[in-house]
């Protein structure tokens, strides 16, 4: 990049900023203010008595964070959340990508069926979806146990089985986003590019890894980050399917833990500090991921 380009970029930047200002204003109002409140609340002893004015506010500073970080349970739940989210993200991407490729290869009617099924899963509200899955996997009356001949088997009792079932549900309702996005991405690759690759002697594997994947990179980044954020924040599925975090709380993830320990118990200050920690972690993950991508390839 030479200097003249940089200078133009700077001038453009100012104009771009002016154009972006309205959007920025909306973002500050809708995102900035809540985050500001969240951080603020996390610094106080803020319970129901304080909210309704029955007790004075006490400034704790980092007190809520100290309580949180010294809680062994928080760390084990955090670890569980990271592992659970990782499995869900990997599963979602694999299933979504595989079906996207499949969708480009099959006849129109098959693709239509695939998309309708995927959109159905996507459109199902999380609470309804979780409940339906629970019906399907019910120990005594469930369809799955009937088919497998395992009547009486409880799918939500064992820790790993319960996590597995919930992960499957999460993947089921989030893969359609990946499928649709990647399908559109693959379809948008110009035919000439693929033709050129073929003329240059690239095989199917070579075309996939050296041509299609690099072209899909920006899309993959978006769907991966989206999935990480979604799956890290899973609440409904765990809350509904393991009735609030499983036996003795062994299926807790961070969001449900925050709800149970802080919000349901009216400890809003502590709950807000969990929220801040989660936001910070997600920002770190996202930034780290973007950096790693930039280092390994071209700028996005």
């Amino acid at each position: 990049m030479d200097k003249s380009v940089l200078r133009t970029a700077k001038g453009d930047g100012r104009i771009a900023f002016a154009y972006l200002a309205p959007a920025l204003l909306v973002l500050v109002g809708l995102m900035g203010y809540p985050i500001y409140q969240l951080v603020l609340i996390s610094l106080f002893d803020y319970g129901q008595e304080q909210v309704s004015g029955g007790a004075p506010l006490t400034f704790l500073g980092a007190g809520n964070y100290a309580t949180l970080l010294s809680d062994a349970r928080f760390w084990s739940v955090l670890g569980q959340t990271v592992g659970f989210a990782a499995v869900c993200v990997a599963g979602t991407l694999l299933v979504g990508a595989a079906l996207a490729v499949l969708a480009t290869r099959v006849r129109t009617w098959a693709r239509m069926v695939l998309f309708l099924a995927a959109l159905g899963a996507w459109a199902t509200p999380a609470v309804a979806g979780s409940t339906i899955w629970l019906f399907l996997f019910d120990a005594n009356l469930g369809f799955v146990n009937e088919v497998l001949g395992t009547t009486g088997l409880s799918w939500t009792y064992d820790k790993w089985m319960a996590f597995g079932l919930v992960a499957a549900q999460v993947i089921w309702c989030s893969f359609p986003f990946v499928l649709v996005t990647l399908y559109a991405g693959i379809k948008a690759i110009p035919g000439e590019v693929l033709e050129a690759a073929e003329l240059d002697g690239a095989g199917a594997v070579g075309t996939a890894t050296k041509v299609i994947l690099p072209l899909l990179r920006p899309l993959l980044v978006v769907v991966t980050i989206q999935s990480i954020i979604w799956d890290f924040k899973v609440f409904t599925q765990i809350y509904v399917m393991t009735s609030g975090g499983g036996i003795a709380g062994r299926n807790l993830v961070l969001n449900v833990y925050a709800y149970q320990q802080a919000f349901a118990a009216s400890e809003y200050g502590l709950g807000a500090s969990i929220g801040v920690v989660m936001t910070a972690l997600l920002l770190l993950v996202t930034l780290g991921y973007l950096r790693a991508l930039r280092r390994s390839g071209e700028a996005l």
Partner: protein
């Protein structure tokens, strides 16, 4: 100009530098007309309750010109959110509300309910003192007990007869008895015991001389890790085992799910409430069961039951204080308690009304005996709501019954968590 802007900006920032508080709840008003708002709990089978409440509303509206009563039925599961929202925004709050007695201390501390003056209400003298205590915080009455609920031991008479068994005479006998039944009839749970069934487990703790917490110098200190409490916890968690009530089936159950197994005809025994009687009568176990008080540590004793039940209270921010109090006295009074008993089976809280319905309904005998033997209650502190929300006791039961954790360790951890909540 720039200075002025800076002042404005910093003033705004400073003013915003504390989380919002809704300010002390207004003490309300005393209007004598308009709409009186009432919140009652929704029930699985709400029809009969709604019919009785409608009669009370009609009677009240006829007696008060220009007054209408709007009754809303709220879900028990989401009550915490509803009440919190009502406390934070008095304008969306009801005037009269039904609420669970274990929630009382938290609601009062949250500034939600007004102190009630029962003077001049003749009927109030007949309220059972032990039951009225569940409506008090620091000696002041905030709620009139609308009905009381106690639990006793339901058992299947057909199964006991077939196996030639007698109901247990002590708590110690329950486990061997249940094991024998399940061995003879593998389809049945010996006793349906739930890992989340706090109020089914606590009588075991109380009967052994333990307690959830004890008061020390005006503060509560957890007693769940005392030797006596642990003896009771051991006795209860022993029931959640493959040869009585398999953890995979039972560890996740609360009270309702535990009773549901009995209703479905899949359990030989269960700790159930007087409020479960009607639903059991409409189930697979109908006509094949009997109820005895849950036995205590020694033969002839009755394990202290948890004095559950719901209260009626007047919200502190109510704009219609007098009307609200009058409606409360009508709905919570003797006549409508009697009608609620007929409709829902709710046990009345007036001594004379209770005795009267007990005479007419011998099936209530084990529950009345349990009540008379003395009941216990959860710690009366706003922090109890926190301990409840954090599921401290269910987690303790589940850790021991299903998680394979050591009872001493789990009880110590639960005690620590409770003490942290009591201290906050």
């Amino acid at each position: 100009m720039r200075f002025a802007a800076a002042v404005v900006v910093s003033a705004v920032v400073l003013a915003g530098c504390a989380p919002v508080q809704s300010g002390s709840a207004p003490s309300g008003g005393d209007e004598r007309s308009g709409q009186l708002r009432v919140w009652l709990f929704d029930e699985v089978n709400r029809g009969p309750k709604e019919a009785v409440v409608k009669e009370a509303v009609t009677a009240f509206e006829q007696a008060h010109q220009g007054v209408t009563v709007d009754v809303q039925y709220i879900q028990v599961q989401t009550r915490a959110e509803r009440f919190k929202a009502a406390f934070s925004d008095p304008r969306s709050a009801p005037d009269v509300a039904e609420f669970g007695n274990t929630d009382l201390a938290g609601y009062v501390a949250g500034g939600g309910f007004a102190e009630l003056d029962l003077g001049g209400w003749g009927e109030a003298e007949d309220l059972l003192p032990a039951v009225l205590d569940t409506g008090k915080v620091d000696g002041k009455v905030y709620g009139v007990p609308w009905y009381v609920g106690v639990r006793a031991l339901y058992y299947r008479t057909d199964v006991f007869q077939e196996l030639n068994l007698r109901p247990p005479a002590t708590l110690d006998e329950i486990a061997p008895l249940a094991r024998r039944i399940r061995a003879a009839k593998p389809d049945l749970l010996g006793i349906s015991a739930g890992g989340k069934y706090t109020y089914g487990a606590m009588p075991f703790v109380w009967a052994n001389g333990g307690d959830i917490a004890r008061e020390e110098g005006g503060k509560y200190v957890s007693a769940i890790d005392s030797a006596e409490s642990k003896a009771g916890l051991r006795q209860y968690t022993e029931l959640i085992a493959d040869d009585i009530c398999p953890p995979a089936q039972c560890a996740g159950n609360g009270g309702d799910a535990s009773v549901e197994a009995f209703r479905a005809g899949k359990a030989a025994m269960v700790v159930g409430g007087d409020f479960n009687r009607k639903s059991v009568d409409a189930s697979a176990a109908a006509g094949k069961y009997a109820v005895v008080p849950l036995p205590g540590k020694e033969a002839g004793e009755i394990a202290p039951a948890f004095a559950g039940g719901n209260l009626l209270g007047v919200m502190r921010g109510s704009e219609r204080k007098t009307l609200a109090n009058e409606f409360l006295r009508l709905l919570g009074g003797k006549e409508y308690q009697r009608r609620m008993f007929d409709a829902m089976g709710n046990l009345p809280t007036f001594g004379d009304v209770q005795a009267e319905v007990a005479r007419a309904n011998p099936v209530l005998e084990p529950f009345i005996a349990t009540l008379e033997a003395g009941t216990r209650f959860v710690p009366v502190t706003p922090n109890w709501a926190k301990i409840d929300a954090q599921a401290v006791l269910p987690t303790l039961l589940q850790q021991v019954a299903a998680g394979g954790e050591d009872l001493d360790k789990a009880a110590a951890a639960a005690a620590d968590q409770m003490n942290a909540a009591f201290a906050s």
